[in-house]
Amino acid sequence: MHTPQDSSEFNPSDETVQQAVRQSLQRYEGQKGNLLPVLHAVQHELGYIPSSAVPLLAQALQLSRAEIHGVISFYAHFRDQPAGAVVLEVCRAESCQAMGSDALAQHASQRLGCEFHATTPNGAATLEPVYCLGLCAQSPAVMINGRPHARMTPEKLDRLLQAEGV
């Protein structure tokens, strides 16, 4: 996934948004029920789905803006705000809880200085909960920028975050 590196990318120009929407629509043109793939493509390109993309998508797909917004807000994966350069997802589900993920989650929150569902003030990292990464035999597990890491400890997590510059 593309994550913005400098401030100009956090507020993509109308032209950039239009282009991302156009390309995403083109890629899935003619496929039935293609809204989710299109939204994934827009988010992949811009790092999130800016509100200015909603009317463009609505017009092209013959849906109301409310319907597009409704879909974006329903799914946890879609963001309507940019994420930090590093996205840390900590599994909060049962198997990881059985192996101490509550303490790991608390450590992550303290280490980054931000709560879950939030981005650090400097935009360096976003902390998200995730409900199962399918690595339950090696709990606890986390994902950093889409890459899975299992048998996690607070110390290992610190090293991984440090390697990412956080």
């Binding site: 039935k32 029920g33 293609n34 809204l35 989710l36 793939p37 939204l39 994934h40 319907e67 409704g70 879909v71 329903f74 799914y75 946890a76 994966h77 879609f78 599994c91 589900a93 049962e94 198997s95 990881c96 809880q97 059985a98 192996m99 995730v130 409900y131 199962c132 990464l133 399918g134 690595l135 339950c136 035999a137 090696q138 709990s139 597990a141 994902m143 889409g146 890459r147 899975p148 890491h149 299992a150 048998r151």
Partner: protein
């Protein structure tokens, strides 16, 4: 120079998550620096997940296992002569002889960990496409009959007979029908779908193609959760290869019968594991659960008759067609036929995947395979079947894993995932979490689930903090009753299972009097 020696380094997420990519590069580097010729195959995982990264070396005697291997271990392994299968502290002898693997009955996972997941040559060399070839020579109704006769039931959790579902779709008249694979494996403690898709994607593709031939559907979708990027990549690559080789497309292997499919990426909503909600999502909508009837088999995706099955159900079909219904049906007990890939998770020493025929007990899985707790403390509770499954106390660990036997103890086998907890677990907290999870993931369509889960978490919080405890317990039971009976789907309808089982079996964690030991109760 000698012929290259083959090493297998898994590329399953579970291996990558503990450094398999670094191990593979370390091996390549070390071999090059020693002037040795090695061929590194990135296979699926054998499912002995506590040993990942599990590297295997091909020797004349068979594949020899080393694990868990860290990049730093690699030079020492070369020094010890691992390319000749020689001993080392990380060596486990021949992989096939490791009891954890040897004592399994691998039907659906027969190839996983053995083959290169994307090699069609490997796939065919291990019985691949035999089922589809058989199906191409059969009439649709005959294929359906094989699946009915095999006794295969939905492996996603609901355990509905797969063949009966197919029969309904075959009988439905329509200009278009669909095969949908539910790969939204969101339950904690489950990873068999992921391992199958990453380790043997052609098995799922073959199963879906057979389903297409059986019900006369020409198009399929695999709906995979976005938390599984490696599974999505494996499936997309495999579909492209299968299409190029003529196993998918307008005329499968020149038979004149068509089937093609695509992968759809989900977007982080647990509810999409519920079949009607998944269909809504595939149609590009908010994933609100649909009321049934109509059943998806009659009016499913885009209003058309649709087979919707779990990954393991579909991936079990090829072997049924290849070896016959009777072969599969001979495994298992009662009305639970065949095998289930159990997933050992949570606080266990030897977590991993164990495919066995139905009928073994939790105790065998926890101790004979799982090796007891990872923490070394006594095990106390096991949640079977995901976040909507019951918590079972030790007194129930001897019940055979069989769909009906589990219903008999108000539990469910579900997708075969089990999460073990040691004695440090607070079961009242787990009950509260079950309600919180339901509140987070509720689609919001029906009131018992949307409001009930929020109130449920509040009530359990009060119980935990001794605010009118006795009265709140009455309220909680009443609320669970409403959710059980009044919810539209399994999320609201089954969240009471973990809650009530925790309350029933571990009352002391809720500040209630503990059960009397059985010996004093008898009097």
């Amino acid at each position: 120079m000698d012929a290259a020696i083959t090493l297998f380094v898994p590329k399953d997420s579970a291996a990558i998550a503990v450094g398999a990519d670094d191990v593979a590069s370390a091996i390549a580097r070390e071999a090059a620096s020693r002037g040795l010729s090695v061929d590194i195959v990135r296979n699926g995982s054998r499912g002995l997940l506590w040993l990942e990264t599990l590297v295997e070396v091909e020797t004349p005697q068979g594949r020899v296992a080393y694990g868990p291997v860290e990049p730093a271990d690699v030079p020492g392994l070369f020094d010890a002569g691992w390319l000749q299968g020689k001993p080392h502290t990380l060596a486990h002898g021949l992989t096939e002889e490791i009891p954890y693997l040897k004592n399994q009955e691998r039907l659906t996972f027969a190839r996983v960990g053995i083959t290169d997941p994307l090699s069609l040559t490997d796939y065919r060399a291990h019985e691949g496409f035999k089922g589809l070839e058989a199906a191409l020579a059969m009439a649709p109704a005959a294929i359906v009959d094989q699946v009915v006769d095999s006794g295969l039931r939905g492996r996603g959790g609901a355990a509905f007979p797969t063949g009966i579902k197919w029969k309904t779709v075959l009988a439905a008249e329509a200009d278009q029908k669909y095969i949908v694979c539910n790969a939204d494996e969101g339950d904690s403690g489950t990873f068999s779908d992921r391992m199958l898709m990453e380790g043997d994607p052609y098995a799922l593709i073959e199963g879906m193609a057979i389903a297409g031939l059986a019900v006369q559907a020409t198009y399929g979708y695999i709906y995979v959760r976005s938390e599984y990027p490696y599974a999505i990549a494996a499936l997309e690559a495999a579909i492209a290869c299968a299409r190029d080789a003529g196993w998918l497309g307008a005329s499968i292997r020149g038979s004149g019968r068509a089937f093609d499919l695509e992968v759809r990426c989900a977007a982080g909503a647990y509810i999409c594991g519920e079949e009607t909600s998944l269909l809504e999502s595939l149609e590009g909508k908010r994933a609100l659960v649909r009321a049934k009837p109509p059943l998806p088999a009659v009016k499913g995706l885009f209003g058309k008759p649709t087979v919707i099955n779990n990954v393991i159900s579909l991936a079990s079909v090829p072997i049924i067609l290849a070896r016959g219904a009777a072969f599969y049906r001979d495994f298992g007990m009662g009305r639970s036929r065949g095998t289930l890939p159990f997933q050992l998770a949570g606080n266990l020493r030897h977590g991993g995947l164990v495919e066995k025929a139905f009928g073994l007990t939790l105790r065998e899985l926890l101790y004979d395979f799982g090796g007891g707790s990872a923490s070394g403390k006594p095990l106390r509770a096991v949640q079977v079947g995901g976040p909507l499954g019951a918590y079972l106390p030790e007194s129930q660990w001897g019940v055979p894993l069989d769909y009906e036997a589990y219903v008999g103890i108000s539990a469910m086998v579900g997708h075969g995932g089990l999460v073990a907890f040691d004695e440090t677990v607070d079961m009242a907290k787990m009950a509260e979490y079950a309600m919180e999870f339901c509140a987070i993931e509720s689609c919001g369509k029906c009131t018992p689930c949307r409001i009930g889960a929020v109130r449920g978490a509040e009530v359990i919080d009060k119980i935990r903090h001794n605010e009118q405890r006795e009265a709140q317990v009455v309220l909680l039971r009443d609320l669970c009753d409403t959710m059980l009976a009044g919810s539209l789907c399994a999320l609201g309808g089954m969240t009471p299972y973990p809650v009530l089982s925790a309350l029933e079996h571990f009352p002391e964690d809720f500040g209630l009097p503990a059960h009397q030991p059985a010996s004093t109760q008898a009097a």
